[in-house]
């Protein structure tokens, strides 16, 4: 497959990474007042750019909508897509993409106003539900309600900002989207405590970056950059100590990860310190999480499933060897 192979070479020649992100999702990707993109997904892009080009700012962020994201990727307009996209069978197989891993384990949840007095999704029979269109969300919703023999009225909305406004105005009783998005949205309400997230999570939503089928070299780079961030947290490597720990530590896995030992970088076609650059640029997974969506931010998400496996979470980076 001529034109998708050599993505790495193209990026290196171009000097920038074209990374598809969402047109604006609080905490995950949004431009700030200076026009700098910020967020959890954005950090993945920057990490990959740092690994390949040694420059976390050498990223062209391409905003994509739910409708346009896959075409942008398959037509090579972007090199990778880091936009809360659920890893599903048909996307992986039929749409011919390759998921490079999971950077956020999510699930679809519901948010309702507290005064409604609803405590379970099973009480939502007949409710009006705001939903973002063009995503797996609407399929999950249809499945959930029909399998529980309940009726509902969908109100499809194009963007998160719009959906949030509808929900706040009471045009729908329930807002459903990925739980992370719900939490992020709730965090910015004038009175967040007036809204509750229902306990039911009705789907598995493993969100992760993806690349085109057929260019395994580049796929590997994205996959292992993500893994490097996760492993770095597990191994205690942070953006603060990444500079010296590679030389000071005795831990051979850290040394391999940071390129002070072994040939991992060369196998990927990159410099030896590729992972060190990525970590130095954005921090390890935990730092990225805490800096963008963690409990210290207005969004205030707990680690939950996204904790390291050692802490009872699902994050489990394969060994670097």
């Amino acid at each position: 497959d001529a034109h998708s192979s050599g993505t790495l070479a193209q990026i290196q020649e171009r000097g920038t990474l074209n990374c598809g992100v969402s047109t604006g999702l609080t905490g995950f990707s949004a431009p700030d007042a200076n026009g700098e993109w910020q967020g959890f997904d954005v950090a993945v892009c920057r990490a990959v750019a740092a690994a390949i080009l040694d420059d976390p700012s050498a990223v062209e962020f391409v905003p994509t909508t739910g409708q346009t994201r896959f075409t942008a990727l398959s037509s090579s307009e972007i090199d990778m897509l880091a936009r809360n996209t659920t890893w599903t069978f048909s996307r992986d197989v039929d749409l011919a993409f390759e998921f490079a891993g999971v950077n956020y384990y999510d699930g679809q949840g519901f948010m309702v106003p507290r005064e409604l007095g609803v405590s379970s999704a099973l009480e939502l029979d007949g409710a009006t539900v705001c939903i973002q269109t063009g995503t797996t969300t609407e399929l999950n919703l249809a499945d959930y309600f029909s399998s529980n023999n309940m009726s509902y009225e969908p109100v499809p909305i194009e963007t998160n900002a719009e959906a949030q406004q509808q929900y706040l105005a009471g045009a729908c009783d329930v807002y459903t989207t990925d739980a992370s998005g719900l939490a992020a949205t709730r965090a910015t309400f004038e009175d967040p405590s007036a809204h509750v997230l229902l306990p039911e999570i009705i789907s598995k939503e493993p969100l992760g970056p993806l690349v085109r089928h057929g260019d395994n070299e580049f796929g590997d780079i994205v996959r292992w950059t993500l893994n490097a961030l996760v492993a770095a947290e597990e191994l205690g490597v942070t953006s603060a100590n990444v500079g010296e720990i590679g030389n000071t530590t005795e831990n051979p896995e850290i040394r391999r990860l940071l390129g002070t030992e072994g040939e991992l970088g060369a196998m990927l076609g990159l410099d030896a310190d590729w992972a060190a650059r990525a970590i130095a640029a954005v921090g390890n997974y935990g730092e990225v999480f805490d800096g963008n969506i963690g409990e210290s931010t207005p969004i205030g998400l707990a680690r939950g499933l996204n904790a390291q496996w050692t802490d009872g979470g699902l994050l489990y980076a394969p060994p670097f060897r």
Binding site: T23, G24, A72
Partner: protein, 445 residues
């Protein structure tokens, strides 16, 4: 008959000896009293409507004005705005009330205007905009010296260069292609005949652009590296994006529109039918569908491996779209010309292209300018649709701004501001086209 005359004539013969002076009309016939009576209270129904209208105006203004006027201009985020509001005007009572938080405009002004364009280069789009105004001025006002049309011809290339930057050779060589075409028509006719020259004048520049321009730019640039910092299309946004898409759409669609209009007027069956099909297909499908086509499908139809950036694809689609509308406008202009003009040109021995270029098009285009301006207004308004394919036009930016934690929840302020900007631009353009229509209606025919 004559006796009748004399009978009546006696008592009706009359000569005024002294002319009556002009008098002021009675108060009921002129002045403000008359005006109010005529315009506001000429009948009972009218009086009721007047009072109703006044009431509606009062209600609307009373609801909106305080919100606008007491708005807050200095805050760094929506929550700051809310704090300031509470400090100034006390807590909100239930629904409504409240004041605007205009601070978001101050905070995000640059983005709404220029998008991600590098701030240190803002002078370039501004200069390009001024050049654009200077370039179209002689087209819009025929009192300006005709020499300024040179600026008009150069303007697209200079603006392109200013906006995107890069090597100066790119616009120069593209312009050179037009020069080549012109030279072929001008000097080639003598050697190969008018028709062959015309065909060559189409084909040679296209070959030049496709095959030679790329290498030549590199060659020239390596010899004389003159250029300014280049800016990616992705960094365009806000009103800059709307203007660039609208203006390139209209400028690029003019030649295509003229060709289509001539094609649709042509007696040549195939050319006529192709033009008709093209125009009808383009006009029959909504722009938003064409934009999705640009986003989703255009890549399929380009040679494998080639890849334009999204903005170029959008400009291509918008150009095709507006060329169909422009073609219809120009067709109207062509149809409005009396047959005698064609015959006059024929009888002098001018050939088809000469009579088009010298006689028909100058007149038809002039009649069409109001219609073209209206198309431009429509096109400019339609640029907002690019938000659906992920470009950051002003409305797209309003979404992105609201995705920022600082401004999450802001709503009306952005829309009112965007609406106002569009209104100012479009309204002044529509006034201009109305002025032009009146001028054409009274002008020489």
């Amino acid at each position: 008959m004559s006796e009748l005359h004399s009978e009546t004539a006696l008592d009706s013969a009359y000569v005024r000896t002294e002319m009556l002076p002009e008098q002021a009309p009675p108060i009921t016939a002129a002045g403000p009293v008359r005006w109010v009576r005529d315009n506001l209270f000429s009948s009972i129904a009218n009086a009721i409507m007047t009072i109703l209208s006044l009431y509606v105006i009062y209600v609307v203004l009373a609801a909106i004005l305080p919100w606008v006027v007491y708005g807050i201009w200095d805050a760094g985020s929506l929550s700051e705005c809310r704090e300031i509001r509470e400090a100034r005007y006390g807590p909100l009572d239930g629904h409504g009330g409240g004041v605007a938080c205009w601070a978001v405009l101050v905070d995000r002004w640059d983005q709404l205007m220029f998008g991600f364009y590098p701030p240190e280069l803002y002078w370039r789009p501004i200069l390009a905009f001024l050049l654009f105004l200077g370039g179209i001025a002689p087209v819009l006002y025929d009192k300006l010296p005709r020499k300024m049309l040179i600026l008009t011809a150069a303007m697209p290339f200079i603006c392109f260069w200013l906006l995107w930057g890069g090597s100066i050779w790119a616009p120069v060589l593209v312009a050179a292609g037009f020069g080549i075409g012109w030279a072929i028509i001008k000097f080639g006719t003598r050697f190969v005949g008018a028709m062959t020259a015309t065909i060559l004048a189409f084909i040679v520049p296209i070959l030049f652009w496709v095959l030679l321009v790329g290498p030549l730019i590199d060659a020239f640039h390596s010899v004389a590296p003159i250029g300014i910092e280049s800016v990616q299309s992705r960094e365009f946004g806000g009103f800059l994006l709307a203007f660039v898409i609208g203006a390139s759409g209209i400028i690029l669609s003019m030649p295509l529109g003229i060709v289509l209009a001539l094609g649709r007027q042509s007696d040549l069956f195939i050319i006529n039918k192709f033009s008709v099909i093209f125009i009808e297909v383009i006009r029959g499908v909504p722009l938003i569908v064409w934009l999705f086509t640009a986003q989703l499908l255009l890549g399929y139809f380009l040679p494998p491996g080639s890849n334009f950036d999204l903005m170029v694809r959008v400009i291509i689609m918008v150009t095709l779209f507006s060329s169909a509308y422009i073609a219809e406008v120009i067709r109207g202009g062509l149809a409005a010309l009396p047959r005698g003009q064609y015959e006059g040109a024929d009888s002098l021995g001018l050939n088809y292209w000469q009579s088009m270029q010298l006689i028909i098009l100058p007149q038809a285009l002039k009649i069409s300018i109001p219609g073209i301006v209206s198309s431009f207004i429509g096109l400019f308004k339609d640029t907002t649709l690019v938000v659906f394919i992920g470009l950051f036009d002003p409305i797209g930016f309003s979404n992105a701004i609201r995705a920022d934690t600082d401004w999450n929840g802001i709503y009306w302020e952005l829309f009112i501001f965007i609406g106002l900007c569009f209104f100012i631009c479009c309204f002044s353009m529509s006034r201009y086209s109305q002025y032009l229509e009146r001028k054409l209606a009274t002008g020489h025919r």
